[in-house]
């Protein structure tokens, strides 16, 4: 239950990662309070800022409600409400998910609002809250039924705007002292921020060092170049998102296709430390997402494993993903940020990457330690996930057949299943592999890059493998430059497919529509096919041929083919 709660119900990073998830939620909650209880919120803000005005703006008071909401959220209200209420709320949490936390907190503040409105200073506020919390613990804020009712009817489920807000703050909030950024925009930031900047810099430098260390242990040249290039692209990306706040040195970030890159990177780093902090947080978030996807991928892989022949996974290793990334970086940098569609089991690419055999340009990106761990994974995976996998597959198939739009979107479901499996995965494989992959991943590309990369690689996977089936006996051969070129165009086609679909689901993270459902299934189904094919040692040449073919297709055609392929697969499966 505990694991389910933490992994499946609560937002990511609630108890880990310096309580980042919690910081995000506190920020989100302040926003919600502003929307729902504007008067109270305004009053509290006034109290908070009073201290600053009198002191020429140099003073600092953290958001007043933080102390309390933090405790409420972390203890799921067990330290502030009587047991009867707490149990009811927990029921709701299990049923409706983590938004109940926010709802409950809103309801409580609503009840307390009257008395809080009467206080005139931050100091008084804390005093009165001391009294109020004790009262609440003993008698509850209000009748329990009343409270539950308020919680449930205050807004339709899921809470409107919640996802957007969470997204927003996840990307905007800074991991350290989140409240700083919110409370003291601009002027007063400086001296306290220097330290934070230092922290951020340290992080970045650590990443950089890590990269460099790895280059030392592996092929130096290309790796260094790739990493640095990407880091810089990421930087400029982030800067673009940040709007015109900083005089953008992004051009310097892009002039890097040479080995002088590292020093350049460092200079960029020092120019823009504030954005770096953001980047760190982005990376952290990305890390979590990757972890999730990695798990999904394990399942999918196993599925394919059972479905197809018992060849080693290493046969599936393909170069194109990486080429894709390389070819696309510049283009990607221009794309606007969008919420990442969780549905793509990105880690497919992660799994492929470790292959040393095919190493072309990008495999060099892998630290030397990876191959061993991935080998280990290959060995263990099938047994450990087998059981769960079957149910998961069936579940998905069923869903697909029914084509239902459900309240609980598939990613939720899958993440639940996934979290059920955490024990297995964590204990056996996921960790070792996941860790290596993740660490290397986020350090390589920007969030955008990663997302694009994952979505593209998956979609290219699916469509190209599909085509693989069709042209199985095709014996075309290619020279690699051509190949690369065709792949670039191919990937852009696919990228568009992805984008189209992603744009249909702005809140892709939690609110997947039917389309996404089927798309997701598509992907995994075709992945199975892909495994079959590739395990048959269908190889690059063919693959490239298909890709060229695909690049001539329109987006619609691609989708259609995918769908066809899927229906065949379903039939086969039945």
């Amino acid at each position: 239950v505990m694991i389910y709660l933490i992994e499946g119900v609560l937002p990511k990073g609630y108890f880990a990662n310096n309580l980042r998830g919690l910081s995000v939620d506190m920020a989100v909650f302040r926003e919600l309070l502003r929307l729902r209880l504007p008067e109270l919120s305004k009053h509290l803000d006034k109290l908070q800022y009073e201290a600053q005005d009198s002191s020429t703006g140099a003073s600092y008071e953290p958001p007043l409600i933080n102390v309390f909401t933090m405790q409420w959220f972390l203890t799921l209200f067990s330290n502030c409400l009587p047991k009867s209420s707490v149990l009811r709320i927990w029921d709701l949490i299990f049923l409706e998910g983590n938004e109940i936390l926010l709802r409950t907190a809103l309801a409580i503040w609503d009840c307390l609002a009257d008395r809080i409105m009467s206080v005139e200073s931050a100091d008084e506020f804390y005093s009165i809250m001391g009294v109020l919390t004790r009262e609440m613990m003993e008698f509850g804020v209000t009748d329990t039924n009343e409270l539950i009712k308020t919680i449930c009817i205050m807004a339709p489920f899921p809470f409107p705007q919640l996802n957007d807000l969470r997204e927003k703050y996840t990307f905007n909030i800074r991991p350290l002292t989140s409240s700083f950024a919110l409370v003291k925009k601009g002027v007063q930031l400086f001296h306290s921020d220097e330290e934070e900047e230092n922290d951020a810099n340290d992080d970045q430098i650590m990443v950089a060092n890590w990269c460099i260390t790895n280059l030392n242990s592996k092929q130096k040249g290309e790796l260094a170049f790739n990493l640095i290039f990407k880091l810089n692209v990421r930087l400029s990306d982030a800067r673009k998102e940040g709007g015109s706040r900083t005089p953008s040195p992004s051009s310097s970030g892009k002039q890097l296709p040479n080995m002088g890159g590292y020093s350049n990177f460092l200079s960029v780093n020092s120019i823009d430390p504030q954005r770096m902090t953001l980047d760190v947080s982005l990376l952290k978030k990305q890390y979590l997402k990757l972890k999730e996807r990695q798990r999904q991928a394990h399942i999918i892989l196993t599925e394919g494993f059972q479905h197809g022949q018992n060849n080693t996974f290493s046969k599936r290793q393909r170069v194109p993903v990486n080429h894709l990334l390389l070819g696309k970086t510049a283009l990607l940098a221009k794309k606007p940020k969008r919420p990442s569609p969780v549905l793509q089991p990105l880690s497919k690419s992660g799994c492929r990457k470790p292959a040393p055999e095919r190493s072309k340009t990008l495999y060099d990106l892998k630290p030397s330690s990876v191959p061993s761990s991935s080998m280990m994974n290959k060995g263990e995976k099938p047994e450990s996930v087998k059981n769960e996998t079957i149910t998961w597959t069936q579940l998905r198939l069923e869903k697909k057949r029914e084509k239902l739009i459900r309240k609980y979107s598939e990613p939720n479901l899958s993440s639940h299943t996934v979290s059920d499996q955490n024990e297995f995965l964590e204990k056996s494989i996921a960790e070792s592999k996941a860790e290596v992959d993740f660490i290397s991943f986020p350090s390589q590309g920007s969030t955008d890059d990663l997302e694009q990369k994952c979505s593209m690689s998956t979609s290219s996977d699916s469509s190209s493998t599909e085509l693989c089936d069709e042209v199985e006996n095709d014996d075309k051969t290619d020279t690699s430059p051509e190949t690369d070129k065709s792949f670039a165009s191919f990937s852009s086609t696919d990228g568009e497919v992805e984008c189209t679909q992603a744009s249909m689901n702005p809140s892709a993270n939690e609110n997947h529509s039917r389309k996404n459902l089927s798309e997701h299934s598509n992907v995994s189904e075709s992945n199975e096919a892909g495994e079959k094919v590739s395990e048959n040692e269908e190889d690059e040449e063919k693959y490239m041929a298909i890709k060229r073919e695909l690049s001539n297709l329109s987006v619609e055609e691609c989708i259609q083919r995918l769908n066809e392929r899927i229906s065949t697969l379903i039939v086969e499966k039945d």
Partner: protein
């Protein structure tokens, strides 16, 4: 409750050294042997009297656990005094003092009065850190030093009150700009000192206390 000044305190130190117990002892005159983890920050308040002036101490008790560090840091700022606590029966808590001190100095204003407290002085038999060591550390870093016991209440009052005195002296000397609340000092709602003839020994009403 009217007061002439309000001082903000912050209590920091490793987890389990007795920060919350010190606060509880000071505000409620109670001791709780069970170790309840502090979540984020908690606060307590109490009135004391120094030099005939009512002073309200608003005390932020922070969680010692590493995970909360980023959250508790935001409370360093705007504190006039800090109680840096270690446990005399656990040498590692003493060893971590430098880290804490750096952290505190970094995130707070430079004038903050820091009092070093070696807690659990009642457990003489299990002592791992000599009093002299604590004194030496305090001298080296310009801190005030005391050994206390939240259990027997020995020196607890004194620790808080001495810190307040130090702050008060600094105010008199003009080191603290009392109009700048970033220093963690606030002038009370009524500027004229009330006719206070209360004894010095912290007879003020205690209010607040942990919020759970």
């Amino acid at each position: 409750m009217s007061y002439a000044y309000l001082f903000k305190y912050i209590i920091i130190g490793d987890t389990g050294v007795g920060k919350s117990c010190l606060l509880l002892q000071f505000t409620d005159k109670r001791f709780q042997p069970v170790h309840d983890l502090t979540i984020g920050v908690e606060f307590g308040a109490r009135m004391i009297t120094i030099d005939g002036k009512q002073i309200k101490l608003q005390i932020w008790d922070t969680a010692g656990q590493e995970a909360f560090r980023s959250i508790t840091r935001s409370y360093y700022r705007g504190a006039a005094g800090a109680l840096l606590v270690y446990d005399i029966t656990r040498r590692d808590t003493f060893n971590h003092l430098t880290t804490w001190l750096e952290d505190a100095r970094q995130h707070s204003n430079s004038n903050m009065v820091i009092m070093l407290i070696g807690n659990k002085s009642d457990l003489e038999s299990r002592r791992e850190v000599k009093k002299e060591e604590g004194e030496a550390f305090a001298r080296e870093h310009g801190l005030i030093f005391m050994e206390t016991s939240a259990k027997t209440a020995a020196n607890v009052e004194e620790a808080f009150i001495n810190t307040a005195k130090e702050i008060y002296e600094k105010i008199q000397e003009g080191v603290f700009d009392i109009n700048n609340e970033a220093n963690g000092i606030k002038i009370g709602p009524q500027h004229s000192p009330t006719n206070t003839s209360l004894p010095l020994s912290g007879s003020g009403s205690s209010q607040g206390g942990g919020c759970c």
